[in-house]
Amino acid sequence: MGYDIYYWLQAVVNGLMNGGVYALIAVSMTLVFGVLRLVNFAHGALVTVGMYLSLTLFEAPFGINPYLALIPGLALLFGFGWVLYVGLLDRIMKAPLLMQLTFTLGLLVVLEASMEMIWHNDPRRVRIVGMASRIEFGELYVSQSRLIAFVAALVLAGLFWAMLRYTWRGAAISAAAQNPDAAQLVGIPRRSTLAFTFAIATAATGAAGMLLAPFVTMFPYVGHSFLGAAFAAMVIGTEGNILGALVGGILVGLAEALGATWMGDNYKDAFVFGMVLIMLILRPEGLFRAKSGV
């Protein structure tokens, strides 16, 4: 099998598309880590929740187009995130690290089992009939749904960043990230700020799932693969750094695709995490060392 330039160029295209979605997942994960100081293993399951939400809205009697479904979807996911935080996570914010890890791991297991009970373990997919499958340019091609996901994910990640940078809520979140006690002293309500942070992160993560639904085979445990990619992206981009996570996500997507082309599909994960390991040794602070993450 030849390794001519076509394979590499096509791999770059494929990798970029995936990278955009990884970026959105990593951005929300890094926010949760930076502000709540929480390593959220359930993050992958939130991607899956988004996918099934898209499927449910799509298959409902009134059948919403999966891209239009993003509007009610984001609101529903925001609400879900808020409830998760206020109902559960808020109770363990002051708990020791091991307890927090166990808690989010447990949340992952419970969320996935619940999805299996509701939607069963059959592979599912949101099938949009009537949309062109691909756009071709010369010998290269890009899948239309992947292209939409890429653009939408970057737009959402951009909005996310702008919200943190330019709104009062964003300033409150940044303050809470930098010094939670001082933030509380100057009148920033701790609980609702953290709840808002987690809810907006849940919305972003779930939105990534909704964007994936038209081209990724969904089943209750599919989120695991995105969890790994998001961790890698977050670490590469320096934990807590939004723009870093964005770049990290795209790099992970590219590394995966190029690794698959170079070493074969079986070794792409090993290639990505091999890179992460090397980077952790050579540059443990990540690519984007920043004073304040968010």
């Binding site: 099998m1 076509y6 394979y7 096509q10 791999a11 494929n14 995936n18 299996e116 069963h120 373990n121 059959d122 592979p123 599912r124 997919r125 099938r127 009939v129 009537g130 499958s133 691909r134 071709e136 091609y141 899948s143 992947r146 081209f215 990724v216 085979t217 089943f219 445990y221 599919v222 693969s225 995105f226 695709a257 698959a260 082309t261 074969g264 599909d265 079986n266 792409k268 994960d269």
Partner: protein
């Protein structure tokens, strides 16, 4: 059913319980058989589909008066979920035996069945294998293992024959194939057998591999886009097949013939891909309601109808194996008149499940050779034609003429 007690004490209890199990079962009005299968986890759909069918057979038998030679004792089917895991499968088998099961039925995965049959063999409890094809399961000289399904070797050795049969109907001969395999033990052992079979038949072949459970196979698809071959062969589970077919669609990859083994014929495939996009794909189908079992012309359709009526969907890949396993268990119990494991084993070794016993598979009867392998087992191929699964090979089972070449993506899109 997911609770697994890992205490050593439990095992001791299991051993103690074994001693008294046959007398306990005799005293009760019910005879317990265990469905040890994947009811959750990655292949949870397969085990569930099998267990569902087992319930149908049990209810039929009980409604007809139970086991007459044992005073009308009723069959009791108890599910034990392996969670698609080797270790859980073993523990659940131990638990089933300790809870009085006189026979084990299962499982959907060869790797798990390797463990469950070992536990059953040690405890001297008959194990009827429903959905696992790995040769090694019946290669170990086990006395208590009986398999209904074909072996992987048989699947591969009849493969070229069926492939040539399909191409011959269009005056062609398959000259080159590309074999796509997943990196698990299942995919690799299959790939080896196929490539050997193709090599022996003088068919040009090349291999590509991928990682099972991948969420994105666009890299693989971009390679396949450049492969020039008459046929694409793939062996793997339905989730991977759905992902692969989606990647083929995105990359506009077309072959005249694509066989995705057990993936295509899983009802979940057509549901996820959509009947129009699934058109033309070929795969193994052990049971088809339109293929009458010799001597039992209505049996297959009757089973199919009761399955659909009760569970609201089509039987899965190995559902018919589950139904058959219960029918075998019943015939053995009726003939033995007791639950003595040694006596049951001896009866099973000589047993023949015939049409009048509720045999619904597309061959004469089920009977086992000295390794415990069903000597008549076969692996017909079905193709999705006009949104229905039709058997296209071997010729004696065929319900329709194969579609060759299968429609391209451009043709499918033009039809929408």
């Amino acid at each position: 059913m997911k609770f697994v007690n890992k205490n050593a004490g439990k095992r001791l209890f299991a051993a103690l319980a074994l001693v008294g199990v046959s007398s306990m079962a005799m005293a009760a009005d019910t005879i317990r058989i265990a469905s040890v299968d994947a009811m959750s986890g990655p292949v949870g759909n397969l085990g569930t589909d099998t267990y569902n069918a087992e319930q149908i057979a049990v209810d039929e038998i009980n409604a007809a008066g139970g086991i007459k030679s044992m005073g009308g004792a009723l069959l009791e089917l108890v599910p034990y979920d392996t969670e698609s895991k080797v270790q859980t499968g073993q523990l659940q088998t131990e638990r089933a035996i300790s809870e009085g099961a006189v026979m084990i039925l299962g499982t959907a995965q060869s790797s798990v069945t390797m463990g469950t049959t070992t536990v059953a063999e040690r405890a001297k409890i008959p194990h009827i294998v429903t959905g696992s094809a790995a040769d090694s399961i019946t290669d170990r000289g086990y006395k208590f293992t009986f398999r209904i399904l074909v072996t992987s070797t048989l699947v591969a050795s009849t493969y070229v024959q069926k492939l040539e049969e399909i191409f011959a109907q269009y005056g062609r001969k398959p000259e080159s194939v590309v074999v796509v395999f997943e990196d698990s033990a299942y995919g690799q052992s299959n790939s080896k057998r196929y490539t050997k079979a193709f090599g022996d038949a003088g068919i040009k072949y090349q291999e590509l591999s991928f990682k099972t459970g991948s969420t994105d196979l666009s890299g693989l698809a971009s390679r396949l886009r450049r492969v020039d071959a008459d046929a694409m062969i793939y062996a793997g589970y339905v989730k991977d097949v759905v992902t692969l077919v989606e990647a083929l669609r995105e990359a506009d990859v077309n072959f005249d013939y694509v066989n995705t083994s057990v993936g295509t014929t899983d009802p979940a495939f057509m549901k996820a891909i959509g009947a129009d996009d699934a058109e033309g794909y070929i795969g193994i189908q052990y049971f088809n309601p339109n293929v009458s079992a010799p001597g039992n012309p209505d049996g297959p359709q009757k089973f199919y109808d009761s399955y659909r009526e009760r569970f609201g969907r089509d039987p899965g890949l190995t559902s018919a194996m589950g139904y058959t396993a219960v029918r075998i268990a019943y015939k053995a119990l009726e003939a033995t008149g007791s639950t003595d494991p040694e006596a049951l084993r001896a009866v099973l070794a000589d047993l023949e499940l015939r049409p009048e016993d509720g045999h619904i598979l597309p061959y004469e009867s089920v009977k086992f050779d000295e390794t415990g392998q069903n000597v008549n087992a076969n692996s017909p191929w079905a193709q999705i034609i006009n949104g229905r699964l039709e058997i296209v090979a071997p010729a004696e089972n065929a319900t329709a003429k194969p579609l060759l070449p299968m429609p391209t993506w451009a043709e499918k899109e033009a039809k929408r």
